[in-house]
Amino acid sequence: MASDIAEKTDIVFWQGNEIVAEAAIAAGCRFYAGYPITPSSEIAAVMAERLPEIGGVFVQMEDEIASMGAIIGASLSGMKTMTATSGPGFSLKLENIGYACMAEVPCVIVNVMRGGPSTGLPTALAQADVMQARWGTHGDHPTIALAPAYHREIYLSTIKCFNLAEKYRVPVILLLDEVLAHMSEGLRIPDPSEYEIWDRVKPSVPPEKYFPFDSAFGDVPPMANYFEGYRFHVTGLNHTKTGFPTTNPEICQQEEERMIRKVMKDVELLTDCEEYRLEDADIALFSFGTSARGARVAVDDARKLGIKAGLLRAITLWPFPDHKIHALAQQVKAFIVPEVNLGQMILEVERAAHKDMPIVGVNRVGGVPIAPYEILDKIKEISEYAR
């Protein structure tokens, strides 16, 4: 077993999916509900083996919708919960992801992105669910989605997903892709001293004074667990601070604005990015996940040719790092956005740059990663044009 190797060498050789499962456990996840789907299946397999060992619950539900419902129910009962899926399954989960947004229930959803739409390419890479992660469920809602690119980062990002879910009372989405999920890399398991564990804030008032959505305690109201004497009501309908339905336009507006504000007021804190060789860059690459690994190689290759390229790699994809793109737009002559889709995050770069300048994509679909030379070719082409 993998953990035996860890005891001997301190280094494990895990695929991304195994890392997600082990990191979730390290983060305090004790409830997993899922439904079989490629290429996320290994997450469920590890959870099924590990959770009973540590007194947690693993359940394979009848479908994706059910597993999303189950993790919300378990979270309301006080557990840290997760489900994992891929494209078509993510589509099915969206209804109840919206419920978790509306009812402000912490939980983590992993989407190992594969080719689409529909059944698409079940065993191959894509990065085409990024806009779905942001806007997939209906109605206005905040989204926190992380998109790590390296195995240590997958471990720490998974823990961070749980922390952010607890801190903001939101469903948090971890976006992997098929390559990261199935590629094995050496990993020294981070020591607990290397990360923090956050828990939801519990009410400090007695039950008779408790309101589950009481903004008197801040934009993220304290959250009681079921069965602890608070006997509160939870609904997917618009509701007042009491948790009971309302159709009052003013209250609906206030509450929906609070739900967005609780995340967006911390946008600069949340938007974790790696800035690579950007100090003097003329051309900025923006990328994430597997594509960012190729982009980084392309930056080094371009530098060897004397082209001042750099990379802004988003680890937090949502909320989007508007301020970083906007600042870069004042410095660089062009943006290049490599992504394994036909142009999704580039729309955000265009919006945030808000400037008449070349912003071009390097796009691929069909299940294979973008090779560094493809990105380099684009850098060379743009450096001629943007000279």
Binding site: V57, A66, G236
Partner: protein, 281 residues
């Protein structure tokens, strides 16, 4: 001692939103009576629902209440129960919610035999959305979406539940509140997945289109169809035509309950780990 209903209700949320004469109120009353019979603590009960008229019931009950998405109540309830197997979880649902959009969750909750009590208020119609036909609308009946009469065959919910593996199945009707309370109580006390179907009246959406716009006419229509199981046993197939059998339809105390099985699995895994650690000590 008479039941103090207000103790179990959120009095400040009343009056309720159901139509005058609606059968859901009688079901909620029976439910509270059953909880009172069992002396369950309000803090230890979660009441979960989906979408529809019936699904508004938890909002009036002073317990841990969860009003979820359409058809999905059992999935949320499964999460609640697995997280806290020591607590009581009740789901209250309508016929459309539980057996159309929620049909898959329904059969799988039966199959797992998880210790949840499912009360289905079967009024043969989608009431809240304006009277569309449901999987239990009788053949030939009029609904907003069957203006020419219903050609969809109806589910027998009791047989469906038994076939899928529920270990307690009963059917009552709103014309007999005492019987309803007994079935709900027995279902709640039973360890395993319990399904209690309650035949109820929606005179507003079903009755109005089928010459029974008065609640009493509708309750009489239900009362005229139901036959207690004991009486049905003595009736011929011809006599039973068009009748609906009420009573405790199925009970199996032997079938393993899901959270018990999970607890056993956990014990087994941990004992194995301990033995493994001991051998290497």
């Amino acid at each position: 001692m008479p039941v103090n209903y207000l103790y179990y209700l959120r009095a400040d949320k009343l009056p309720h939103m159901w139509c005058p004469g609606c059968g859901i109120g009688i079901v909620v009353k029976s439910m509270i009576g059953a909880i009172d019979d069992l002396k369950w603590d309000k803090d230890d009960i979660a009441v979960v629902s989906g979408i529809g008229c019936t699904s508004r019931a938890p909002g009036y009950m002073d317990m841990n209440t969860l009003h979820t998405t359409h058809g999905r109540a059992l999935t949320f309830a499964t999460g609640v129960k697995l997280a806290r197997p020591d607590k009581h979880v009740i789901v209250i649902s309508g016929d459309g919610d539980a057996t159309a959009i929620g049909g898959n969750h329904f059969i799988h909750a039966c199959r797992r035999n998880i210790d949840i009590t499912l009360i289905i208020v079967n009024n043969n119609i989608y009431g809240m959305t304006g009277g569309q036909f449901s999987p239990t609308t009788p053949y030939g009946a009029k609904a907003a979406t069957t203006p020419h009469g219903n050609i969809d065959p109806a589910f027998d919910l009791g047989q469906l539940a038994i076939g899928a593996g529920a270990s307690y199945v009963a059917r009552g009707s709103v014309d007999n509140g005492r019987m309803m309370q007994r079935f709900i109580r027995d279902g709640m006390a039973h360890r395993g997945f319990s399904v209690i179907e309650m035949l109820s009246n929606c005179h507003t959406q079903f009755g109005r289109r089928n010459k029974m716009s008065d609640p009493i006419a509708m309750v009489e229509w239900i009362a005229g169809q139901v036959v207690p199981k004991s009486k049905a046993a003595k009736m011929s197939a011809e006599e039973l035509k068009g009748k609906i059998i009420t009573g405790e339809l199925h009970r199996n105390e032997e079938r393993p309950e899901y959270t018990d099985e999970y607890a056993k699995l956990t014990q087994r895994v941990q004992a194995k780990m301990k033995a493994h650690a001991g051998a290497h000590a």
